[in-house]
Amino acid sequence: MTPDTSIDIQLNGKRQSFGAGHTVTTLLEALELHPGMVVVELNREILDRENYDAIKVVQDDMIELVHFVGGG
């Protein structure tokens, strides 16, 4: 894997390109999201925050980033 190749992932329902080599932590940083404010689902599996550093984002990953919004 070379750092300048890019990957396509499905992020919140949209196809998006990112540089290869991201972990969940660096992806959230790139998106300017505070890890404590979101929940990450990777390929339908909810991730533990402690594992964000260790998990690599790879081609065709399906990632959902959710948070709490107003609701009844």
């Binding site: 909810i46 980033l65 959710v66 919004v69 009844g72």
Partner: protein, 276 residues
């Protein structure tokens, strides 16, 4: 993380009323306010915060949605409501299948606030009535996973009993359809549900104005949950004050025990001792 009623209740205007009504418990957590409020549909976040503070509610509901990555709106509720001040009850609103509701509940729990979920599985878009079969299925799955499930349901006793059987910590029959503002359409069924269940019964959805909240609480239920009645009032903060008082009024009237009603007049002054 919510720090509990002793820490968050700064409202002393209701002390007299509170002394006449005990706290109550949902899934082992103590609450004083019997009013639970939603956080949706407000014109602005500031009005939402002001209105919710005026209700005196400790438990507030939130929804789970995708982060808006284009940042067009500041949707994150936690930027506006301090989770130390409120007990966050995540809902599964918008889910039409048991699987979806379970997925949303798991996502909500992963946010790390508590094990509670307001389970809502809708069966029909026009009425937003619950799919009670799917609700039961999801309730069982979630209760088995250790969730404290508060289940939104119909005003149907049998479903309410089954929801209690599968381990829900509260059962939440509707007063009338979500967002309808029609008030309690079937007080008799609500009363019977309350009489037959051991877990708290919270009436959820349908309250339109203060008198509806009062009548709801007069049925003897443990609490009432509302959103649109506050958010869609012309003056949400004023309506929030009204609702706070209405819920307390209804609760105390229930505890006080109402006089028997009569179709003919019963004089209040002595009929003896009148002049000739």
């Amino acid at each position: 993380m919510w720090v509990g009623v002793e820490m968050t209740s700064t409202d002393t205007s209701m002390d007299d009323a509170r002394a006449l009504d005990g706290p109550f418990y949902i899934g082992g957590t103590k609450f004083v306010s019997r009013l639970i409020v939603g956080t949706g549909k407000y014109e602005s976040n500031q009005i939402m915060v002001d209105a919710i503070r005026a209700t005196g509610a400790e438990m507030v509901t939130v929804a789970v949605r995708r982060v808006d990555l284009d940042r067009s709106k500041d949707e994150a509720i936690l930027h506006h409501l301090d989770p130390q001040d409120f007990f966050l009850l995540a809902n599964t609103a918008g889910c039409y299948t048991a699987d979806d509701a379970v997925r949303y509940a798991r996502l909500a729990r992963a946010a790390g606030f508590n094990e509670f979920v307001k389970l809502e599985v809708i069966g029909d878009e026009r009425t937003l009535l619950p799919d009670v079969h799917a609700t039961l299925e999801a309730a069982k799955t979630l209760a088995d996973e250790g969730f404290k499930v508060m289940a939104y349901t119909n005003d149907d006793l049998i479903t309410a009993l089954r929801l209690e059987d599968v381990g829900c910590v509260a059962v939440m029959p509707l007063a009338s359809p979500i967002g309808s503002g029609l008030g309690v359409v079937n007080p008799y069924f609500i009363r019977e549900i309350k009489a037959r269940l051991k877990v708290p019964v919270i009436v959820d959805a349908g309250v339109g104005t203060a008198s509806d909240a009062c009548v709801t609480m007069e049925q003897g239920v443990d609490g009432v949950l509302m959103n649109t009645a506050l958010a869609d009032a012309d003056d949400p903060v004023r309506m929030s004050h009204a609702m706070k008082h209405a819920v307390v009024a209804g609760r105390l009237a229930y505890l006080a025990g109402r006089m028997p009603s009569s179709e003919i007049a019963v004089p209040s002054s002595p009929i003896e001792g009148m002049l000739d």
